[in-house]
């Protein structure tokens, strides 16, 4: 039986979750047959007999793995003969820092840039859930959170400097070939690309070359996904 991953979906088959993109890219990197099962926010409690609270979640035979990092570790251990996601034990450890940076710097900022756009791309039932849960978290309306995003872009783009510096010397964070570290950062940008027409990177940003390279990987799964371009 092929591997099943539960993949967050909005309207029009928009697969927007950054954490799910990490997992999809990891599965593709390993060359593993899988089905990315479209799953709405409000459907999550129904999958896998209620054992799952967040996606991505992965069903591989009798194994159920939840959380994108746990999934990446699982895939690396379960399929060691396939291309490595980390390039060794040190790579796996140090990739944790890239993940922390992505969560602390990319996700936390980007959510404030696209949160109302996410809402616009959800089905009505998910819209209610999303608005109430996120407005409670932010203490403001989604539109208030997103307002003023143009003014925040300069600071955000400056904060990408570590990525820019690293990608000056090699096409991927993984060097000549992508590693899971690339998928961590790509997931964040792909999240925005799928769900929002707002441009995250300036046209002349040297990061653009890397950002345009990633969706073409592994048969172009990032490129062919419904989104904005």
């Amino acid at each position: 039986m092929a591997i099943v991953m539960y993949d967050l979906v909005g309207r029009d088959d928009r697969r927007f979750s950054p954490n799910c993109w990490r997992t999809r890219m990891a599965l593709a990197h390993k060359g593993l047959d899988h089905e990315a099962l479209p799953t709405r926010f409000t459907e999550i409690p129904e999958i896998e007999g209620g054992q799952v609270k967040t996606v991505p979640a992965l069903r591989d035979g009798d194994r159920l793995i939840v959380d994108s990092w746990a999934i990446a570790q699982y895939l690396e251990q379960a399929y060691p003969e396939r291309p490595s996601l980390f390039g060794g034990v040190g790579g796996e450890q140090v990739t944790r820092f890239v993940q922390s940076w992505c969560v602390a710097m990319l996700h936390s900022e980007l959510v404030r840039v696209i949160v109302a756009d996410i809402w616009l791309h959800l089905t009505p039932q998910d819209q209610d859930y999303f608005r109430s849960s996120r407005e409670k978290r932010f203490g403001r309306t989604l539109e208030e959170v997103q307002a003023g995003r143009e003014e925040r872009m300069e600071g955000f783009r400056n904060s990408l400097q570590p990525l820019r510096m690293t990608l000056k010397d090699a096409p991927f964070l993984g060097g000549q070939q992508p590693l899971y570290a690339d998928y961590l950062a790509f997931g964040a940008f792909q999240w925005a690309r799928v769900i929002s027409p707002f441009r995250i990177l300036a046209e002349d940003d040297p990061l653009k070359a890397w950002f345009e390279r990633c969706p073409d990987l592994h048969g172009g799964i990032g490129r062919s996904a419904p989104g904005y371009d």
Copy 2:
């Protein structure tokens, strides 16, 4: 002949260069006999027959290697039987991102916190060189650059969140044991510790445990170096 590294020094044997600390820790990690030769800014043009413009520089037999990253790569290749600095090829690639983050986020901010303190700890000849070259770079006096550092600390400490998140799950960026990634970040903090009485981390910062762990590594070379505590 033992390996010689040229190590930036101020007054009272203060070894303050963050890039030199990376190299010292890397040599100690590899367990390689070496001499860390104290070298003042104004002495650099005189070492190795004028071939060297920056420290750290490493002399190993007939090999001369300049630049801390090139040195780390060299040590890993030349001494593969010794403990690895990267834990594999993926580790080496992804560690480039940690280095970029350290340079872009730690060094660029910390220099504005300690630059006048550095000057205070240099010999008179180095003081002249340092003041004129750095004031030209900043377009302001060293004291003006450093002024207001108390107000900048909240933002700086917030920017350490990726480090904090990663070190919540393991004692080192390298996991249970340190890797070169740890020395990159440690070098920046040690720079400040050696040269400035100003406290970079808040007392209750969870990062403190890691920061106190690093100077005790490898026989406590970070701890025993003249500095502030």
